[in-house]
Symmetry: C2
Subunit: 223 residues, 2 copies
């Protein structure tokens, strides 16, 4: 197993993130690379969900992962060991989010020219990552059952910028006051087009539906 490459990324000095993001997205379209930006709170199960998903799709698309973290590389090692998928670690140097320029610095270190799909696991945070367009083709986020069904009320921007909301840890629904119907209603107040998909990364339930959605997205992007 190849070691994890750790990239110390820096914030852009130009600070025109929207323009940078649009430019990056156009380049990705030209090159036929689909970039998914995956966000969530700390501990919602991003890494476990990713591992399940990657093992379902890795024979169908050429994929790599960029793991963004403040300074550890725990998740990157775990993903590469469990899937064999090339994974790089982006260290944000304390920054609470990634912008488009930081994302581009990461893409320069994966062999993007040989890939169909790059998944960016953003910093665990429901606030700042929602404010910065990374240049991704699509934003997805994971809300886990223990966090509560009211999160779309409290972190409105996050839910309005995501098109796919994975509701994870459905295996513990009996132990928490989490109303999936109410949660879906709150999500749709923020983004009427968002899809709410219950999954359980631990058992794998629902992850095949997410994997299928992702493969269709990649296919459509490459047209």
């Amino acid at each position: 197993m190849e070691g994890i490459k750790v990239i110390e990324i820096k914030k852009s000095v130009f600070e025109d993130n929207e323009k940078d993001a649009e430019k990056l997205r156009k380049e990705l379209k030209t090159k036929g690379i689909y970039l998914l930006n995956l966000m969530s709170s700390p501990g919602s199960g991003k890494t476990t969900t990713l591992i399940r998903t990657l093992n379902l799709i890795k024979d169908k698309v050429r994929v790599a992962v960029m793991e963004a973290d403040i300074d550890s590389d725990v998740d990157a090692v775990k993903i590469q060991e469990a899937t064999g998928i090339p994974t790089i670690q982006l260290h944000t140097g304390g920054m609470c989010h990634l912008d488009a320029e930081m994302t581009r610095q990461g893409l320069d270190h994966v062999d993007a020219g040989q890939l169909d799909l790059v998944i960016l696991e953003n910093v665990g945070n429901l606030v700042c990552p929602a404010e910065f367009d990374t240049g991704s083709c699509r934003n997805a986020m994971i809300l886990s059952v223990p966090e509560g069904d009211d999160k779309p009320l409290k972190y409105p921007l996050m839910f309005s910028v995501c098109d796919m909301i994975l509701v994870n840890k459905t295996d513990v629904l009996p132990y928490f006051d989490f109303d999936l119907e109410k949660c879906t209603r709150y999500v749709h107040m923020r983004n009427p087009h968002a899809r709410v998909l219950p999954i359980c990364a631990k058992t794998g339930e629902g992850v095949d539906v997410f994997a299928q959605w992702l493969l269709q997205e990649v296919c459509a992007w490459k047209q």
Copy 2:
């Protein structure tokens, strides 16, 4: 029941946060007001823990709560209704944390001169709030069992600036791979003096110990 006062707070233009924080802390000392800064991820149970704690201490100290949120006032209403404690809502205008000047703006709106204790519920976020000294006498944080025992490795700064780590939702320990001993070891890697206290805000278990600690802190601060 009095309605919730909502304060739209603004970031300081001077940006010398450390100086502002020290100044605020000295003023609080002079006035005999203890300010606790409570932080956590979204959905870790800050509000439920606060309600339990307030109901245990409200006859012993004069206390008020400042609830910081991006833009909802769900938690402030819940706390005031469940405890009768004066609660104000701080809207951060999208900001992911509070600094000392923002905290001061909040304190100007609670009748701090008549209080022994003010509890600040910071924005749900393990990254940014750790970077900004609010001027509080002490930082505490809640890590909930479903988030995982590895969080001190992934969000080092948060765990190094907190002296009291409440490990919440211990009622669901049987359903998650959470090792309390391992977690405590990771916390002490970041801050050897931090106290790790398991609680269950839902059942009340351990919250009395936290309440006792808080009362002792207030008492010592006023000497």
